[in-house]
Subunit: 294 residues, 2 copies
């Protein structure tokens, strides 16, 4: 069957057509401007593709509560043009097909869990460390929403004793995103991450914060595997540092087979940066099955 | 139907008989000594009660992986006499009935979710702050195990700038349990919690750490309600401080109806300290249904 997928990000919208096997047959990318400018372009792309359902992985925060009047809307985002925009509802009304809707990182977590490196695991996580930090979670076999949805990038962390940087998050002085996302690296060191590739102190500190967050995720969620994606993880020397630092900070408190093989436990994405768009396909497929089959 | 329930703690074993409605008809408490001394007493209690299944909520860490050779065992506990003890297997062999097995705090989370204040919610948490700190989690409608099981007491926290106390945890200098459990209060202030009831600085610091952990749980899990139990929470002035401090540390980043009514969001247990033993009944019931009905 033909499925549409939309990865809705703050800077670009990736639209694709694929099928229930996760195969993508067409794709375009459109810059994110205002809903008035951008959404008609997205709708006209999908309208002529004869898709039977659409899945949307969307930047947040978003309302995922199906009993809520604002289900399917973007809520308190700092991208003001999109604040309170009814994302799922607009596409459902325009295309007359089932529209699945979740966070962008839950989409990536679902993509990896359906066709990638966390396939077959009931409990896994996908974390992106880039312009922001986000966490998507599969718990007991399903994407996790709860009261709202995970906001794992705003986990509060202990500052490194030598780090005097104040953090970039306007809400929290010591959250993961504010201390370790791309903009925090640039603000702390005065250069972009890729320009700092040979500065070991940059990546040791980065590993310290990412690892501390991973330790906390392990203590709370006990995922069976953790996937670390996003632009910052393109620094290839970072992942081994994170693994080492996770072991150091766990300090032997938890002993599992998974942690004994940490290079298979904390891993990079496996779907060639298609995890998000493939996850959106699965969101569309799941919504189709929910509406048509029940 | 008649169900057995065992709440296995480090200082005492609570045994009860009840039914599938959570009603308890008989109960005894036996001190926790070694398995050789204690377990025969537990077995002889249950053996004559004509129960059809037994549920055990057990101190940990424990092995909950049904595919593991050591499923049902206590694993790396500092209570050395119980290390590697096959808890579930011993009772199953002696009583020839289905034996459900989970952590003590998952048991309490399940008790509250089945008959208490989190009934009907797909996502909730039960946290105990007492001699130790533990977290039980219901995620997507089921108790959460994952790779091992949650160890939420060992969440790493940012120290309060004025707190010079080193923490009591032998593994982590700044985990929740080491900074905020009963023994940490006593070690930091030189007196037990109940002797410090009128010292506001004690409870402000305690609220600071518990609230920080709750903020992190909210960022990761997004529970629909959080139940705070355990001996430390018997200080009645603590809960309002925790609620205030959660709001302060969240700093408005997350806006939900639940957080707007925080006195209904962060709550005390509702089952008169029977949440653990009632949860164990439910563990027994669930295992019976799994084995007999499938």
């Amino acid at each position: 069957m033909r499925l549409g997928a939309l990865e809705a990000g703050g800077t670009k919208m990736v639209c694709a057509v694929g099928n229930e096997h996760g195969e993508i047959v067409d794709r375009i990318s459109i810059p994110t401007e205002t809903p008035e400018i951008t959404v008609p372009k997205l709708i006209s792309y999908f309208a002529e593709k004869e898709i039977e359902a659409l899945g949307i992985g969307c930047f947040g925060p978003i309302d995922l509560n199906r009993n809520s009047k604002t289900y399917g809307c973007i809520t308190t985002t700092p991208k003001l043009a999109w604040k309170n925009y009814n994302m799922a509802g607009t596409f459902k009304e325009a295309l007359h097909i089932p529209v699945g809707f979740d966070t962008d990182v839950n989409g990536s977590a679902l993509g990896e869990a359906t066709w990638g490196i966390t396939k077959g695991l009931e409990n896994s996580m996908y974390i992106t460390v880039g312009t922001g930090v986000g966490a998507g979670i599969i718990a007991n076999g399903k994407v996790l929403h709860g009261m709202l949805h995970p906001e794992g990038g705003h986990l509060l962390l202990a500052k490194h004793p030598k780090d005097t940087f104040e953090g970039t998050c306007p809400y929290h002085k010591n959250c993961l995103e504010g201390l370790a996302a791309g903009p925090a690296i640039e603000a702390r060191w005065g250069k972009k991450g890729f320009e700092l590739a040979d500065r070991s102190e940059v990546w040791e500190l980065e590993a310290y914060y990412i690892a501390q967050a991973l330790v906390d995720y392990i203590m709370v969620l006990s995922p069976q595997r953790i996937v670390l994606g996003g632009g910052v993880m393109h620094q290839e020397h970072l992942l081994p540092l994170v693994r080492e630092e996770v072991k150091r900070q766990l300090a032997g408190y938890i002993e599992t087979t998974e942690l004994d093989h940490i290079e298979q436990y904390i891993v990079l994405p496996s779907l060639n940066d298609n995890q998000g768009i493939m996850g959106a396909l699965k969101l569309g497929l799941d919504e189709y099955q929910l509406e048509k089959i029940g």
